[in-house]
């Protein structure tokens, strides 16, 4: 994780010197998992640096953390002790979280208006997902059938999306809809969930921090 972060920072600063315009872009939004029938939802917060290479392309270095909203359900727990009821519900809470270190690509589409633009996004990077599982039940007398357990998964993250951007004099406001592909391979433990495929709606604001040389 530390090595990935270091590589990410090095790549980012290396790229920073090669591009004429640089924006810093805080982003926030909401995402919902479509791989697990909508069980998991998250609030996004992130920061990205956008390096504008041309009027048609920008490279974006993104760090994002997605904060999970709890998902509640009930599993079954049983006991062999005949003095107790056979079955007792086990209340389960799963909080799913995700993080991203990503080098994204913003391909700007031709637009007639000067104050707005549409872009196609290609998201490429690494990301991790964690599913924190917590049960509330009688742990002394009962045993949960097919219990879920806290799981971590991660790997290469690929996604795509569409973005609308409102252009001001220097700064920019944007809204984006993106979809991440699920990770290759399944979680090794027999869980009731699988790795997430997240449909995200985010909004962000671009602050211009480095202008073109002739604009100085």
């Amino acid at each position: 994780m530390k090595n990935c972060l270091l590589l990410f920072i090095l790549l980012t600063f290396h790229r920073c010197n090669c591009f004429s315009q640089v924006y810093i872009e805080p982003i926030s939004g909401y995402q919902s998992d479509i791989a697990n029938h909508g069980k998991f939802h998250q609030i996004n917060s992130g920061l990205q640096l956008s390096f504008k290479k041309s009027s048609r392309y920008e490279l974006i270095a993104r760090i994002q953390k997605s904060w999970g909203l709890p998902y509640h359900s009930v599993d079954s727990s049983f006991t062999a002790n005949s003095t107790l009821p056979l079955y007792e519900p086990a209340n389960k809470t799963i909080i799913s979280e995700a993080w991203y270190l990503s080098l994204d690509h913003r391909f700007i589409l031709k637009s007639k208006g000067k104050n707005h633009q549409f872009s196609i996004l290609l998201l490429t990077g690494i990301s991790g997902q964690i599913f924190k599982v917590n049960y509330k039940y009688d742990k002394v007398d009962y045993t949960i059938l097919n219990p879920d357990q806290t799981q971590k998964t991660g790997g290469v993250s690929i996604g795509t999306g569409f973005e609308y951007m409102w252009l001001f004099k220097n700064d920019r406001l944007f809204f984006r809809l993106t979809l991440d592909a699920p990770f290759m391979g399944e979680i090794a433990y027999p869980s009731s969930f699988r790795s997430m495929s997240l449909l995200a709606f985010n909004a962000g604001y671009s602050f211009l921090i480095k202008k073109k040389k002739h604009e100085k």
Partner: protein, 198 residues
């Protein structure tokens, strides 16, 4: 030399371990309680983890082994008994060969088609309905008779099915023996013609 090694690896490599162990993070050393066919029983014998041997199938020279076998027998009073025997050992003593058996009184005409009648049942195992028989070599050289309780979460078997899910035995058990206690037992076994021996 390479040819003989290749032949050996082919013969050795044909065995398949069909036991899947998923640790229960809430119970130190035990497997999770499941009904998905993990082919394992775990529990505590006097507080130490006891588990069944692996189910191994295939192999040209090695015999297949199973962690559980179901048989039918008649006791000294001519009562018909269904016998479920799990073979295993302490987690840290894989070379010992111990067992825990359930002897359950059944009607004389009880056949493997009637195993489903126990599906979902929780039974108090006392001397009237049956008993447990156990042998843990580290504790005693004798077979010990015990009482307790067992819950069959799933107990299904269809002898007409030739492939796929032919049957399942899963549940929980607790048993008291004179010299040891078997606690927190949970089992999850696939049942095939290999395990059903009656």
């Amino acid at each position: 030399m390479p040819v003989s090694l290749t032949v050996l690896s082919i013969f050795m490599g044909c065995t398949k371990n069909e036991t899947k162990y998923f640790a229960d993070t809430t119970s130190n050393g035990l497997a999770i309680f499941s009904n998905t066919g993990n082919n394992i029983l775990t529990g505590y014998v006097n507080g130490l983890v006891w588990r069944t041997q692996n189910r191994v199938t295939g192999g040209f020279f090695s015999k297949s082994t199973s962690e559980v076998y179901l048989t039918k027998t008649t006791d000294s009073s001519f009562n018909n008994m269904l016998v479920i025997t799990w073979y295993g050992h302490y987690q840290n003593s894989p070379n010992s060969f111990d067992f825990i058996s359930l002897y359950l009184s059944v009607p004389p005409n009880f056949s493997n088609r009637d195993l489903d009648s126990l599906n979902g049942k929780r039974l108090e195992i006392d001397s009237t309905k049956g008993y447990f028989l156990g042998s843990i070599s580290e504790i005693s050289n004798n077979y010990e008779i015990g009482t307790g309780s067992i819950y069959f979460n799933r107990f299904t078997y269809d002898p007409t099915v030739t492939t796929g899910d032919t049957g399942r035995l899963s549940g929980l058990l607790e048993a008291d023996f004179p010299d040891f206690k078997f606690t927190n037992g949970r089992f999850d076994d696939e049942l095939t013609i290999e395990q059903i021996q009656f």
